[in-house]
């Protein structure tokens, strides 16, 4: 039986009312979606299967659509490189000369740093493996700053991994699918990253507000920032490795400290995902609680003279410890003997007192009987 043949045959509702009812139902659905979303939590379990399925479908589409742009950019770069080859060659040669000095200094400092780490037994941070990826889709609005990249769980990308460009920090992975990952940019309203001012080590929180220059909140200390100070990740909390370049500090028009991002220098079409994990996730709890013994594995073998000196020092220290132990034992023994002597003297004095008391007892009749109590016992 068709609907119109039933008891509702005569029922006619105004279309505007039915449309309004549909709007209300749809609004309720939208509010439910809003309440059920946990984007700010940024945990793997909060990245819903719906989002995963959507990203899985959107990534290939975005990859295809971004192809012409990539070709155009490649062609432009090729033509530009052809015409600017001479000037660029000169510039690169000058840069090489300058960088060679920095390279030598970096090697020397790296060597010295390794020695210090070995001497102090500091456990250095393990090298972070990386995965390259292309950006296939880009959201730049005020309410969402995110990018879709074509590397996912199949390439060991995990939620929380930092993402960098050739210039600096871009964001972090907030969702993964087997073939794609969603990257939340540092400019997104939901992004909060612990950073530090490289010059003063002052800590701050980099808070995105959808503008190109995110804000520095909770800056610790006074006068710790100057215009042009480099801002790097602090590594606090374990979410990011320490020292990833972010940008330079600048005073905003609103009076707040902001950061000009290094990643804005060039188009972010190719990125690198740092497969970094929190240090606590890398090692077992037992290993984490052990004494730092990395220096034993990394220190160079000692020379015979140094080995003899170390052995001599160890023997001396052992002899001193043994002598100290002997002295402690002798002191304890002496204390015990003195205590025994004191106890024996006290016992002897008590015996003599009893003997004197017995010797004087017959001279006092009735002394052996207890006197009658003159007061009744106190009642509790």
């Amino acid at each position: 039986m068709a609907f119109r043949d039933g008891p509702f045959e005569k029922l006619k509702l105004p279309v505007a009312w039915t449309a309004a009812a549909a709007v209300i139902v749809a609004l309720i659905a939208a509010v439910m979606l809003l309440l059920g979303d946990r984007r700010e939590a940024m945990a793997a379990e909060n990245y819903a299967p719906t989002r995963q399925a959507f990203d899985t479908a959107a990534a290939p589409v975005g990859g295809v659509l971004s192809l012409p742009g990539r070709w155009l950019r490649g062609a432009g770069s090729y033509v530009g490189g052809y015409f600017n080859a001479v000037s660029e060659n000169r510039r690169l040669k000058a840069e090489i000369v300058e960088l060679e000095q920095w390279r030598d200094q970096a090697r020397a400092l790296s060597n010295l740093n390794a020695r210090y780490e070995a001497l102090l037994g500091v456990q250095p941070e393990p090298p972070v493996p990386t995965v390259g990826a292309r950006v296939v889709s880009d959201a730049r609005g005020p309410f969402a700053n995110a990018r879709l990249i074509n590397a996912g769980a199949n390439k060991a990308v995990r939620v929380g991994n930092p993402v960098v460009s050739q210039d600096g920090l871009v964001g972090r992975v907030v969702g993964t699918t087997p073939i794609a990952s969603r990257v939340l940019l540092v400019t997104d309203v939901a992004s909060r990253i612990p950073v530090m001012i490289e010059r003063t080590n002052a800590r701050a929180l980099l808070a995105g507000d959808a503008s190109n220059n995110p804000r520095l909140d909770f800056v610790r200390g006074e006068d710790v920032i100057q215009e042009g100070d480099r801002v790097v990740t602090s590594g606090d909390g374990g979410g990011f490795p320490r020292g990833v370049p972010v940008g330079v500090a600048a005073k905003g028009l609103d009076g707040a400290w902001r950061v000009k991002l290094f990643s804005d220098r060039n188009p972010v079409d190719v990125v690198k995902v740092l497969l970094f994990q929190d240090f606590a996730q890398l090692v077992s709890e037992g290993e984490l609680n052990e004494a730092p013994l990395a220096g034993l594995n990394t220190a160079p073998s000692p020379s015979p003279e140094l080995a003899a000196a170390v052995t001599d020092a160890a023997n001396r220290r052992l002899a001193q410890e043994q002598a100290a132990a002997r002295q402690r034992e002798e002191a304890i023994l002496r204390a015990r003997i003195q205590e025994q002597t004191r106890i024996e003297a006290a016992a002897q004095a008590a015996a003599e007192a009893r003997a004197r008391q017995q010797a004087t007892a017959p001279a006092q009749p009735g002394a052996g009987t207890s006197p009658a109590p003159t007061q009744p016992a106190a009642q509790p």
Binding site: A16, A19, A22, V23, A30, R39, A58, V135
Partner: protein, 172 residues
């Protein structure tokens, strides 16, 4: 000044499904990571055109459902808070539906002012929804830079209204 009336008839495929697909296409195309002379492509909220035009064409049960779907698409595609754009689009649709007897048949200049008001309401709702959800709202200028390209899409809304407005005089 009101326009003349006609008696053509259109199916939902023409005035709901195809425009919705066009809005999806515009959104996807403009999300391509391209920069020209250092500037990104604009990122308008294309479905706002439909949220404004559809209730003026005629009341419909299908249109709110389509807007809900379009809003969810925007949230998933842009990676934003789920439910943000469905709420904004549906509030605009509801308000325009409520005032359609006043708005329907107005000339293009007046419609643009109403469209600008609808866009501002949508962004106001989106701003405060995000602020309540995350505890922080976006900066002023990025919001303006998304409002402007959305306003630029007004000719599409006007064209849609002109094309389908007089389709069924029963809704005038």
């Amino acid at each position: 000044m009101r326009r003349g009336r006609g008696s053509r008839s259109f199916s939902p495929l023409e005035w709901i499904v195809l425009p919705a697909l066009a809005a999806l296409g515009v959104t996807i195309l403009l999300a391509v990571p391209l920069r020209f002379w250092g500037a990104h492509l604009p990122e308008p909220v294309a479905p706002l055109v439909l949220a404004f035009a559809w209730p003026l064409i005629r009341p419909s049960v299908l249109a709110p459902v389509a807007l809900l779907g379009l809003g969810v698409f925007l949230d998933l595609f842009w990676g934003g808070t789920l439910g943000l754009w469905p709420l904004s689009l549906l509030i605009v649709y509801g308000l325009v539906l409520f005032g359609r007897s006043l708005l329907a048949g107005q000339d293009t200049r007046m419609l643009f002012f109403w469209f600008a008001g609808a866009v501002l309401i949508a962004f106001f709702v989106a701003y405060w929804t995000l602020r309540l959800d995350l505890g922080a709202g976006p900066h002023f200028w990025p919001v303006v830079w998304q409002i402007i390209p959305t306003l630029v899409l007004f000719p599409a809304a006007d064209w849609l209204i002109r094309r389908f407005d007089d389709a069924d005089v029963g809704f005038r």
